[in-house]
Structures are given as C-alpha cells and as structure tokens.
Symmetry: C2
Subunit: 616 residues, 2 copies
C-alpha cells in the first residue's frame, strides 16, 4: 500500500530531543515485536530503558512516548488505539493512557510506530510530522488555548482538516496532575497525568499526517476476519450492548447491581436512575452514532446540549465521575462538565474524583472559608462543579490544591481527609464500586498504573460460564462478583490478555467478549504481520509486559503496600441498594494473585528467577 519509502515492516521509532532538537530513527525489530508486540508493551520497554528510576516526572529526564499498536491502522477491526507512556506525576510509577479516534493510525501512515520525546523545549512548541518530515515548530501563539482552539488553529494554519492533532489544554500546560492529552477533540489519553508530562516539555501538540499505509502480509486473510464479524456484530452481547447505547448503557448495569458510586462513594445506588440512563441521553441529546478508525461497533455518539455545545461522547466513566459522584444526575450538566474537561484537557475521572473529594471535605467541615474561595461545595451544586474545573485547569485557589488529584490534595490538607481520597497509588477509582465487585476491586488494587479497570477489565462474568471459569481458573466462583475465590488467578489471566489488546492497538470493546481469548487474537495478527503466535506465546508476552511494568514500579520503590484500596472500601459497608452490606476483603485475594504471578507474596514483586523465566 502507498509505496512510501518510510515504511518498514513494523514501522519506525522516532527519537526527538526537545532540548537539543536532535532527531534519530530506528526500525522496530521483529525481535521486539515478538517480545512486546507494540503499543503499550513496547512503550513500557522503551520507557524502562530510557530511565534509571527516581526521575522527577515533570523534569526533562522523563521521556514521553507515543506508541501505536502492532495492528493500529491496519485492516484489523477496531484498530484505532495508541498509547502514551511516561513516568506518572500522579503515581510516581509507570504511567500511560490509551486513546482511539484517528491519531494512532495516522502515526502508522506516516511510518512511525513509536515517538519518544526527550528533554524539554525552552519555549512552547508543537511537533509536526508529515511522513519523513519532522519539524519542531513555535507554539507561543497556541499557549493558553484550549484543546479545541488549538486543534482548529493548527488545522487552519496547515490548511488541512485531516491533520491529526494530539494536544494539551490549559491543564496540561499548568502541570495539573489530572490532566490529559486530547486527540480528535474528545478522545483522551486520560489517566496518569500524561498531559502534565507533555506540558512540562513545553510541547503543546503533536501533529501527524501520513500518506503511507501499513504493511499487510496477507490481505485476503486480513479482510477475511470481517466475514467472521458479520454474525458476531449481530449476536455478541458486548457488540450489541455498545452499538446500541455505548458506554452510557453501563449506568443501568452498574446501578442495578448497587455498585454505582454516589457522593464520593458514600453510597452506591440511585433508587431512580431514569434521568441518567442511556435512553434519556439518546432521547434528549444524541444526534447520531460515531466510530473510531476501522470500528465495527461505533459505540460513541455525536450529541447536542441546546444552547451549550455539540460534541462526541460521553463515556460512562465521565458520567459517573461528573454526576452521581458529585451528588447529581443532571445529564445536561454532566455533558457540560464533560465538555469543559475536554477543552481544558482534564481527565474526567481524576477531575471528578478531586471535586467529589472536595465536596465531602466541605460536608465534613474540613475546608475553611479561605480554602473554599467563597464557593458553595454542597453536593449537586453544578455551578461549583463547572467553576472548580476551570480553577483546576488554571490552578486558581482551591483548584490549585485539587489539580494535584485527590490523593496529593489530601496529603496536603491532612486532618483525616486522606480517608476521603478514593485513589489507589494516587490514581482515582472509576465508577464501579469494588465493594460489590471483588474481581474489579483486586484489579484496581494491583494495577501498576494505579486504580484502574482497564489493566484487567475482568468482564468475564459476561462471557464465561461457571464451567469454563472452573476450567481456566480452577473455580466457578472466579466469575461470581461477590466471591473472593479464584480472583487472584482470574486477574492475573485478565491482565495478561488485556496487555495484548493494548499492545496490538485493538479496542478493548472488541476484545471484551468475542475476541477475548489469545487464540482469537493470534488470528488477527497472522494475516497482517505474517507472524504466527500460539495462545501460549501471547500469554507469555502479556505476562512479560506486566512483569516489566511491575519492575518499573519496583525500581521506584513500590511494593505490596501500594496494592491496596481506600479505607472506605475495606471498612465501610455499602449502606443501601442491591450490594448493601458489602465491603471488600483484599488479603486473601492479593495472596492468591501474587502466587498466580509467581511473585514474592511478602513484597508483591517479581523475583529474579521469574524475570529470567519470562526472558526479561
């Protein structure tokens, strides 16, 4: 395809030093593909190699690495994803975010699988890449603009509305720890504070334009997958669910189980969720469906809030974090808050969590008049919510404190507020209450990038029967949300499989049920790359990636201690609803997890033998 000179089998690595403007290129070797695939996996390898440990995440010593997946931009279905990795200013450990849209494929079309930004520019710049051409351009005129303004201005200057722009808003510029990188206006590299790392480099945007394609070894085989999809798209539960309602449909699913957090996890159930259900969204706001590159699901929506704005979205996690966790179910306000986050470049989960934290501090009398800056932080005050988002992005007053995320804010505020921060390793919990979801809870606790549902994403209750669960994990209870048994093995397995999706650049909604098993993933890889992997080969790659990432954290001083959940999850039972009375007991699940991983149960870290065994 394309016939560009810059195309190598697995793309190239671009190393760009923003201090010296030095620029180097290397091909991605087959050896590295066989060990890490690409995307998140190879990003983590690069990050580990470019650092020694103990770097200040916001210093010039922290590399910022963009990585498209091995299958990103290829004919493989849902192959839109790319990962941005760096040491996280939020957790102090390995950090990354993953986003869809059209930016990742464009990187591949330009010939690059990975871009490593080193150093720090003296003045604001953006990087423009057009196939072989790599330019560091002045961005002084863009500094201070939000992500939408920035994208529009760049595309206008280039005279190219299809130039793919990944940029930061004011939040990233101001080193807000819960800031993100935005591409395609609403697609976010959301978690781990990657926006702040980009801001610390004075890098306002990365713009790519490629005229090449991606190598496809066996085109007929690659497109053959789509035949298989015809039936699946109509029958697979995940496809049907997400095609119909997108992630907003998860509101009812989690709320019906009583694990939908309200008022900063003080409750986890809305007796009446009508105003916030997917049907309401579709009826009142949605205009049409939207899809990322090469997507067969099209889970997203283009919507309008009359008199306010139009955009694509929203995601379930944004709904939870910006609505019920802050004490309201006002859909228009949720969408407005979501829009503000996108434009300022704030992570909706981290920002919502910080505001929920502040509102509970206010309720409990922990903020004095000076600290509240005159704001009424009562639950459900959406004016305060909007204002705090602005103040966080611009680091004004209380917003400056909250810009650190609730974990760091609570360490500054003290006075017992530490117990009101709903974080693991400094990263905010998502809106699925672990007290009623044992497997998810363990997943949040052990995830190397901090409270995270997507490292393990254990939705296996939907796709595996108890019999199948017993076969894989030795107990049918592994898929019982209320049981702790088998969860260690389950989460180990899920983490290894999910690392594959992130490294292939395939959407997790595609690999959620129908293409969950490694043997299915192998079938996607072979026709595109010509590389044949067995299921065992792939599971070993997944295991290697997770061990590598844990080794990164070990070097930073992490241990079993950080594999935990907020006190509330372990000590305060859910007060009402279908999961009433539940808390999450972690110890036995953690023990089982480390054993399943072959790690030291005391330290929660890989042994040298283990690392040798998986060739790390």
């Amino acid at each position: 395809m394309g016939g560009k000179t810059n195309m190598s089998d697995f793309g190239k690595i671009l190393e760009l030093n923003l201090t010296t403007w030095e620029q180097r290129e290397f091909p991605v070797s087959e050896e590295n593909v066989k060990k890490y695939l690409g995307g998140r996996g190879f990003n983590s390898r690069l990050l580990f190699n470019y650092t020694k440990g103990k770097e200040d995440p916001l210093s010039s010593h922290n590399p910022l690495i963009f990585g498209a997946g091995l299958l990103t931009g290829t004919p493989a279905p849902c192959s839109s994803r790319y990962t941005v990795s760096a040491k996280s200013p939020l957790t102090g450990g390995i950090g990354d975010g993953n986003s869809g849209g059209f930016f990742g494929p464009e990187m591949r079309f330009a010939g690059y699988s990975h871009i490593v930004f080193l150093g720090r520019s003296k003045d604001p710049v953006y990087v423009y890449i057009e196939d072989d051409k790599v330019e560091i351009r002045n961005a002084k005129h863009l500094w201070g603009l939000d992500t939408w303004e920035t994208t529009a201005r760049i595309q206008e200057e280039l005279g190219d509305n299809n130039a793919q722009v990944a940029c930061i808003g004011q939040a990233g510029e101001n080193l807000v720890k819960v800031s993100c990188i935005i591409n395609n206006l609403t697609r976010a590299i959301g978690r781990s504070g990657m926006g702040a790392v980009m801001g610390s480099k004075n890098l306002k945007a990365v713009v790519v334009r490629g005229s090449g394609g991606t190598l496809v070894k066996n085109r007929a085989g690659a497109f053959g997958i789509l035949d298989e999809m015809k039936e699946l798209t109509l029958t697979d539960q995940s496809f049907v669910l997400f095609r119909k309602n997108g992630t907003p449909g998860l509101v009812d699913i989690y709320n019906s189980r009583g694990v939908f957090p309200v008022n900063n996890f003080q409750k986890s159930y809305l007796p009446d969720a009508t105003s916030i259900c997917a049907e309401t969204f579709k009826e009142k706001f949605a205009l049409k469906s939207k899809a990322c590159y090469n997507c067969v699901i099209h889970c997203s929506h283009f919507y309008e809030v009359e008199g306010s704005h139009k955009e694509e979205g929203p995601e379930f996690e944004s709904i939870g974090a910006l609505g019920p966790r802050l004490g309201h179910s006002d859909y228009a306000s949720i969408l407005k808050a979501n829009h503000l986050c996108n434009r300022f470049g704030l992570d909706t989960i981290g920002a919502g969590d910080a505001i929920g934290f502040a509102m509970e501090c206010f309720e409990k009398g922990l903020l004095d008049d000076g600290q509240t800056c005159g704001l009424d932080l009562s639950w459900g005050n959406t004016d305060t919510e909007f204002e705090l988002l602005r103040m966080m992005a611009l680091r004004e007053g209380l917003g400056d404190l909250l810009s650190q995320g609730s974990y760091h804010a609570s360490r500054i505020l003290g006075r017992g507020s530490e117990d009101l921060s709903m974080c693991v390793k400094g990263q905010a919990l998502i809106s699925a209450d672990p007290r009623g979801l044992m497997g998810w809870g363990l997943g949040y606790a052990v995830a190397n990038r901090g409270a995270d549902h997507l490292r393990a994403h254990p939705v296996v209750e939907y796709c595996f029967t108890p019999e199948k669960a017993e076969e894989i994990w030795g107990t049918a209870k592994a898929v019982d949300r209320m049981a702790t048994e088998g969860k260690g093995k389950l989460i180990k397995w899920c983490e290894d499989v999910r690392a594959l999706a992130d490294s292939l650049g395939i959407c997790k909604f595609f690999t959620r049920t129908a293409y969950l098993l490694p043997e299915q993933l192998a079938k996607l890889i072979a026709p595109v790359t010509g590389l044949e992997f067995t299921a065992d080969d792939l599971m070993l790659i997944g295991e290697r990636i997770n061990n590598l990432e844990r080794s990164f954290n070990a070097r930073e001083g992490f241990s079993r201690l950080q594999d935990t959940l907020p006190k509330r999850m372990q000590l305060e039972p859910i007060p009402e609803g279908p999961s009433k009375g539940m808390t999450i007991p972690l110890k036995s699940m953690l023990d089982e997890y480390y054993e399943a991983r072959g790690w030291d149960v005391q330290t929660g870290m890989p042994s040298p033998e283990k690392l040798r065994q998986i060739n790390l």
Copy 2:
C-alpha cells in the same frame, strides 16, 4: 507558709512576650478555678483565648503555656505535675505534655501557677524566675547543648543545684516534631512536640526558684489524707504494683495479654519476655527507688548501665517504643536509647515510633540506598537505632525525614508507607495494642491531642467489678477488654475524670485506682483550697475541659474523620499470642462515644447547645 508577698490564693499568671520583653501578671481568679481548676484545664482555656485558629504552630503566634495544677506543690499526695500546652506542630490541634519531678511545685513556690510565653526571641535566651524577679537571659552559650549539659551549666552559673530547669535539647532547637521538654534530667513534657514550640521561640530553658509556699486553708485536713494513705499504700493494687516494679512491670501485664507491640505492631507478643521483664531490670540495672515531689508511690528507679551511664527511669512506654517495637529486647540498649532521648530532648514514644516506621519501610523496600544513608535498618539493629536518634535530633539525612514523626514522614515518603505510620492525628500510638484493648483503642482514636492513653487511661478493669461497671456505664461489658459494648460511655467518663487529675496536678498513678472517683478527688481539694466541690461539680469541670479542647480542634478543622486508628489496627488481625485474631471495630464505639458526649454523631463535634449547657 513562707509569708512571701507574691502569694495569692491560687497563684498568678505570668505573661511574658519574648519578642518585646513585655511582662504582665494577673491573679488566677476563683471563678476560673471553679471552671477549670488549673494545670491542663486552665492552660487549655488560656491557649484557646490567646489564639484565633489556623496559627502556624512554629510561628511566633503560638503561645507556649506552662501550668502547674491547682494542687501542685501542696501537701496533697503525688502533687508534682505540671502541664505545658501549645498548638501542636505534630497534630495541628491542641497539644500538651505533662511531667512530674520538682519543676511544677517550684513554679508554685515562686508564686506562679501559669506562665504564658508569647512571641519569639531573636536570639537564644533562657528565662530565669526567682519569686517576683523575672529575667530574660542570653542563652547563646547554651545553644547546641543537650539537656543534661544545659541543666548542669545553668545550675553551675547560678551556683544553685536546686534551681529547677525545664529545657530543650538539640531536638527542640532544631524544631523536631517529636521533641520534648526535659526537667530534672529525665522527666519529660513528652507528647505533642512541645520541645519544638519552645525551640521555635529560641527559648532554651525556663528556670524557676521559689522561696514561698502554697496556700493551705486547712492544714490538718490536708495532712489528714496521709493517714488514709497508710493502709492504701499497702493494699491498693496500683500502689503495690508501681511501688514494687514501677511502669517496667507493665511489660509482663501487656505481654501476657498479647497486646505488647513488636516490630512496629506487626506482632504483639513476645513468647519469651524474660530479658525485658521488670525483674531483669531490677536485678541487672536498678540501684534504688526514686520519687517525685510529695510522692507516696515512688515508682521510679535510679539505675546504672555499666560502662554507659546512670540515670533515673525508664518508663514502660520508652521500653516498648525503643525495644520490641524496633525488633529487640536488649535491656541495656533500651536504656541507652532512653538516655539518648533524654539528652537530645526527644520524645521516646514519638522517636521510637518513627524508627519502627523506618525499619518497616526498610523491610518492605520503601527506602532506597540514598535514603537509608548507608544504615542497615534491619529489625533489632541497635547501632542504627542510636545513630537515628542522633540524626533525628540534628536533622541529618534520614533523621531529618523521621524528625517529622512517622505520620508526616509517611506523607512525604508516600508509596503506601502511610499505612505503616502508627499514629492518630499525627501522634504516635503507645505500646498497648488497641486491637486487644477495645476501650484503650477508642481512647486513642478520640483523644484530642492524638493517639493518647492518658486522656482516658481506662484502667478501670483493675478497680471496678462488673457490677460496678453496670451501675456506672449500663453494662458489665464496659470493663471487658474484648467487648465493644459500653466503651463509648466508659471513655467519656474516664476522659472527664482524667482531666481532673491533669488540672489538679496530681499524678495519674495516684488517681489510677484508689483515688479515681471524683468524690475522692473532692476530698483532696477542700482542705487545701477551701473550695467544696461535689462529684457532679467535678465531672462537669472535666466535661468542660474536654469540650473546650475539642472546640479548639474544631476551630482548626478537625472532625470525626480524625477520630480513627491506623488501617493495621482495623484490618490486620494480631497474628499470634493471647489476642490472636483480634482487630478493633471502631464505628459503633465512636457512635456511642459521641452520643454519650452529646456531640454531633456525624461530625464528632460539640453542638452550640452542648457548649451552652456546660457553660463554655
């Protein structure tokens, strides 16, 4: 007695501004005695009045208040105690320490019940008080000396070995948050970081010499108490226990219940405690008994460690904090560490806790090579222990971090180390594991000066039968260490009674069992002061003091959230020994406590109605 002109009925208040050298005096009014007695109670009132809230504890805006009790220095038995109060740099709330020896009585002999130090001296000074003469003297030549050197130098200069000196060591000078004030070489105002507040004022020592006495309204009545004591000193369990072994005898008592913390509370039982029991101490080190002013118990010992030092001590809490909590039972090393703490002016509990925290961090791999400063922080390494005490006092390397106390150190270190800090409100737990002592645990959680056994000191299991317990607190289980029932009412009652001892200046070992009840305390007060109190009058005073101190904390932004215990206490069962399997469930006990206090159960704070009711 004495016939000095400076004697008023209840002594005077001296206000001394160290910035301006202004000096004022006021008599203690009968009205204030009737509301707060003196000592801790009236100190707290003064502190509340001299502050507005939100002061930086180490700024010139924090007053430092020395207060002798209403009966301190009088013929009342065990009337040696004085209290030093200030806003605590360790907790950010109300702070105080209480000490025996001979300093408190000497304050009274000089005519002063309370001394309020305001402002901050530009250069190091000490204050010399001799009856009416109050002088601020240069202390540049004393700065950098330890407490023993300081005391010796001052007494030498004065040519008066009976001048009473309360001074700080290097720790207080260096604003170490776990520093104390030392009088009589080994008697400590230990908790809450009062040494750092004194250091922040550049006040090296307070020296008093009085030639007066204390007013005694009915001398025959006052001495009559001693007749009653003859029998008691031979029979009362507390007197017998402490006279025989002193507090070192508590080692066996706590260990036999499996609540004697080992390795930073990872365990709470020594299968063999021979080397650390009171008999070993007495056989190998003790030379003779020692007593404070007017004491009928003489719980203390003068001891010698051959080739090292001689001094008075040690207390049980120092033994626990400097021995088993750090992984060893080497008595000579404990005594040496205790001696170092006394000379540097470190709180043995806070310093030991900080080292135990560091050792567990080391065990868990949370300290890197740079942070350990080349020290081997393995459990039981006493050389490291000694070195860290020095480094804390001088704020060198790792000692600088630990000088903040484990709570603040963990907030700086992060990485999950927060869960290894055994503190409440920033103040370290004592060596009685709350997991096996429900009442004590609740007491630690709610104490206004942070984890503290002496606010409630619920030793009532020793002196009340189940029947008596049912009569006072409505349930016999109130005195069952393993039951949560009745503990809220119990701790409220104990706190109110204990506040009386602290405000009268009477030792808690005297009011531990035989003179525990308010009607007994009333009998001590009447002959000395001529004031007749009913038991109800006194209980109301105790309640008022506790409400006042909680109101101080409320002004600083405290709430129910801080009334908690470390995660370990609530989630990790004691792994072995007689209390194996126990954790402490706080919620129901807290609810009962706030109800018993008539406080808001949600906020844990007094309502305006409550404050009016008790005339605050």
